[in-house]
C-alpha cells in the first residue's frame, strides 16, 4: 500500500474471498514453523518421559533377578543374604510417624489459607512464601537441624528424629497441595453455606473438605511418596541401627530402605550391591504405585466436583 492514498480497511483486496480455503499469504510458511515447533515440543516431552523409563528400566533390569517373596518377607542374613523385611517395616514406621505429624498440620494450614485468612491477608501471604521456601529447603539442612535439635541432646540417633525431619519435608507439600485443591472448591458453595447462617467451621468440615477430599488425599499420598525416598535426613538422624532385626522401637535407630541402599552399594560384595538394586526396585515400585493411585483418586474426585 502506498502511504499516499488513505488505507481503507476492507477495500484493499488483500485476498480473494472466493478463493479455495487453502493457505494464502505467509500461512504456508507459518504452518511449517508451527509444525516444527509442535514436533520439537512433543519430542522434548517424550524425552522427559524417556528419562523416567530409562531409570525405571535400569532399576528393574538390575534388581529383578534377586526379587522374590522371601526378599520382602525375611530379615537379612549377614551383609548380603536374606530379605529386607525389617527395612520395609522401619521405613513404614518412620514415614507413618512423620505423616501423623505433618498431614494434619499441612491440611489445617491449607484450610487456614483458603477458608479462614481473608483474601488480602498479609499473614497468609507470608505463610505462602514461607511454605515455598520450606519446600525448597535442602533436605540435608533439615536433617542437620533435627540432628542439632534432637539427636545431640539425646546423644542418640533414632527413628523418631528421622520422622520429625521427614515431617518438615512433607509439611509444605501437604499445605500447598491442600490449598490448591481447596481453591478448586467453587466459591458459590461457600456463599450458599454462608447465606444459611452456618459457621465457617461447620461449612469447612461438612461441605468444603468433603468436596476436596480426593484432592487432599492425593496430596497426602504424593507427600508420603516423596518422603519415603528421602535419604539425607535418615542418614544424619537415623543411621545407627541393628541391620539384621526388625525394630519396633522408634526411640532407637530403625533400619530404612534408603539407608540400606546407601550402605550396600559401598560394600565390596556383588551380592550386597545386587540387594541394593532390588531394594531400590521395591522402593520405586511402591512410590510409582502410590503416585498412580493418587492420580486416579484425584481424577475421580475432580469428576465428582464436576471439574
Amino acid at each position: 500500500m502506498s502511504t499516499g492514498t488513505p488505507l481503507v480497511l476492507g477495500e484493499t483486496g488483500l485476498f480473494d474471498p472466493s478463493a479455495p480455503l487453502t493457505p494464502s499469504g505467509n500461512l504456508r510458511r507459518r504452518t511449517w514453523v508451527n509444525t516444527f515447533v509442535r514436533i520439537t515440543a512433543t519430542a522434548a516431552a517424550l524425552f522427559a518421559v524417556a528419562i523416567l523409563v530409562i531409570v525405571i528400566f535400569g532399576v528393574v533390569q538390575r534388581g529383578i533377578s534377586s526379587l522374590s517373596l522371601a526378599f520382602v518377607t525375611q530379615t537379612p542374613q549377614g551383609l548380603a543374604g536374606g530379605g529386607i523385611f525389617n527395612y520395609i517395616v522401619g521405613t513404614v514406621e518412620v514415614i507413618a510417624l512423620g505423616a501423623i505429624i505433618a498431614l494434619p498440620l499441612g491440611i489445617l494450614t491449607g484450610l487456614y489459607l483458603t477458608e479462614f485468612a481473608g483474601p488480602r491477608s498479609r499473614l497468609a501471604g507470608v505463610i505462602k512464601l514461607a511454605l515455598d521456601m520450606m519446600q525448597g529447603l535442602p533436605t540435608i539442612v533439615v536433617g542437620l537441624f533435627i540432628y542439632g535439635l534432637i539427636v545431640i541432646p539425646q546423644h542418640k540417633q533414632s527413628g523418631l528424629a528421622a520422622s520429625f525431619a521427614l515431617a518438615i519435608v512433607m509439611l509444605p507439600l501437604m499445605a500447598r497441595s491442600s490449598q490448591e485443591v481447596l481453591l478448586l472448591v467453587p466459591n458459590s458453595l461457600r456463599e450458599a453455606a454462608d447465606a444459611l447462617g452456618v459457621n465457617r467451621w461447620r461449612t469447612v468440615i461438612s461441605v468444603i473438605v468433603p468436596s476436596a477430599l480426593g484432592g487432599i488425599a492425593t496430596g497426602a499420598i504424593l507427600a508420603i511418596a516423596r518422603a519415603a525416598g528421602e535419604t539425607a535426613p535418615v542418614l544424619i538422624c537415623n543411621s545407627i541401627y541393628d541391620p539384621n532385626h526388625t525394630s519396633l522401637n522408634i526411640f532407637h535407630g530403625v533400619p530404612t530402605i534408603p539407608m540400606l541402599i546407601y550402605t550396600s552399594v559401598d560394600l565390596p560384595l556383588p551380592d550386597a550391591v545386587a540387594r541394593a538394586w532390588t531394594a531400590a526396585l521395591v522402593l520405586v515400585v511402591v512410590i510409582l504405585c502410590a503416585n498412580i493411585g493418587a492420580r486416579v483418586m484425584l481424577a475421580r474426585s475432580r469428576a465428582k466436583m464436576g471439574l
Binding site: 500500500m1 502511504t3 488513505p6 488505507l7 481503507v8 480497511l9 476492507g10 477495500e11 484493499t12 488483500l14 485476498f15 474471498p17 472466493s18 479455495p20 480455503l21 487453502t22 493457505p23 494464502s24 499469504g25 505467509n26 500461512l27 507459518r30 504452518t31
Partner: protein, 301 residues
C-alpha cells in the same frame, strides 16, 4: 445455482412430510420485493455462507439441527433466540471455533463462497483469517493498545504500512480519538466498551471478509452498546457481519436480516433449530411462525 433455497419451494407449512422443520426463508417468486428497510435480497446479492441442513453434536448430544440459511454479503445478519437454542454454537461453527471442543461434530454442509468450510481442503487457520470473530467478553491481550491491533497483522506478514493499518483499524472502530495519545499504554486500562471496540479494531485490522460477533454488547452498558451498534452499521459496507444477540431491540436496530432460533421440543430430544429467517422487518412485524411472533413480542425467552 440460484439464490433461492430449496426450501423456498415449500412455502406452505413449516413442516414437511418428514416432520422436519422447514424454513420459509425466501418468497416464492424470484422477483425483487418491495423492501421497507431498503435492503433487497435479490439474485445478484452474493451469498457468503450457504448453510445446508447443518446439525451440530457435542458427543451424542445434539445441540443444533435442521438449519439451512444463506448469509449475504455486506448485510448484517442477526441471530436471535432464547438461551440454549444453539445461537452461539451456530455462529462459532461458521469459523470453526468449535473445532477445539473434542466431542464436536458437524453434519450437513457449510459452504463459504461455495467452498466447504469443513471439507478436507479447508485450512482452519485460513478460515479464521478470512472470518474473524469478536466474543461476548472483551478479551484484549495484555499488551499495549497499538500491539493489540498490530499483533495479527504482523504475524500475517502485513508489516508494510503497519502504522497506517493500525490507525485505520482504530478509526474504523471509532476508537482512534480516544486512544491516539496513549497507544503505548496497556489495553487493559481501557473501559469495557473501549476494550470491545479495540477487539473489533483488532479483528478488522487484518481485513477479514466476514466478522462474526457473538453477543458483543451483552457485557456492556447502554452507552457502549449504542457505540458498538453504530459501529456495526458503519462496518457493514466493507464487511459481512453476523451477530448473535439475545437483545431483540438490538437485532431490530442493526440487522438487515434476522434468523430466529429456538428449541425444538416436539420430539423426544431437545435441540436448537432455525425457526424462521427473513428480513428483520418481516421477522419483527409479520413473522409467519407463531413461536417467532411470541418471542419477538416478549411472551417467552
Amino acid at each position: 445455482m440460484t439464490t433461492w433455497d430449496r426450501t423456498a419451494s415449500n412455502p406452505g407449512g413449516d413442516r414437511s412430510a418428514s416432520g422436519r422443520v422447514r424454513l420459509r426463508t425466501e418468497p416464492v417468486l424470484p422477483v425483487l420485493r418491495p423492501e421497507t428497510n431498503g435492503t433487497q435480497v435479490d439474485a445478484n446479492r452474493v451469498a457468503v455462507f450457504d448453510i445446508r441442513d447443518m446439525a451440530v453434536f457435542y458427543g451424542s448430544n445434539c445441540a443444533l439441527a435442521h438449519t439451512s440459511l444463506k448469509i449475504y454479503r455486506n448485510l448484517v445478519t442477526a441471530v436471535i433466540g432464547p438461551s440454549g437454542c444453539g445461537k452461539s454454537t451456530f455462529i462459532r461453527s461458521l469459523n470453526r471455533m468449535n473445532d477445539a471442543i473434542p466431542s464436536f461434530r458437524l453434519e450437513g454442509q457449510v459452504l463459504y463462497h461455495g467452498h466447504d468450510l469443513y471439507g478436507s481442503g479447508a485450512n482452519r487457520v485460513e478460515v479464521r483469517r478470512r472470518i474473524g470473530m469478536v466474543f461476548q467478553k472483551p478479551n484484549p491481550f495484555p499488551k499495549s493498545i497499538y500491539d493489540n491491533v498490530a499483533w495479527a497483522a504482523r504475524n500475517l506478514g502485513m508489516k508494510h504500512g503497519l502504522h497506517d493499518r493500525v490507525e485505520q483499524a482504530l478509526r474504523q472502530a471509532a476508537l482512534w480519538d480516544e486512544v491516539k495519545d496513549r497507544l503505548k499504554q496497556s489495553a487493559l486500562g481501557l473501559s469495557g466498551g473501549q476494550q470491545q471496540r479495540l477487539c473489533i479494531a483488532r479483528a478488522i485490522a487484518i481485513e477479514p471478509d466476514v466478522l462474526l460477533l457473538d453477543e458483543p454488547a451483552s457485557a456492556l452498558d447502554p452507552v457502549s452498546t449504542a457505540a458498538i451498534e453504530e459501529l456495526i452499521l458503519k462496518l457493514k459496507n466493507r464487511f459481512t457481519i453476523a451477530i448473535v444477540t439475545h437483545n431483540m431491540q438490538q437485532a431490530a436496530r442493526v440487522a438487515d436480516r434476522t434468523a430466529f432460533f429456538s428449541l425444538d421440543t416436539t420430539g423426544p430430544e431437545r435441540f436448537g433449530t432455525l425457526v424462521e429467517y427473513g428480513d428483520t422487518e418481516t421477522i419483527f412485524r409479520g413473522a409467519t411462525d407463531s413461536r417467532t411472533r411470541d418471542y419477538v413480542a416478549g411472551r417467552f425467552g
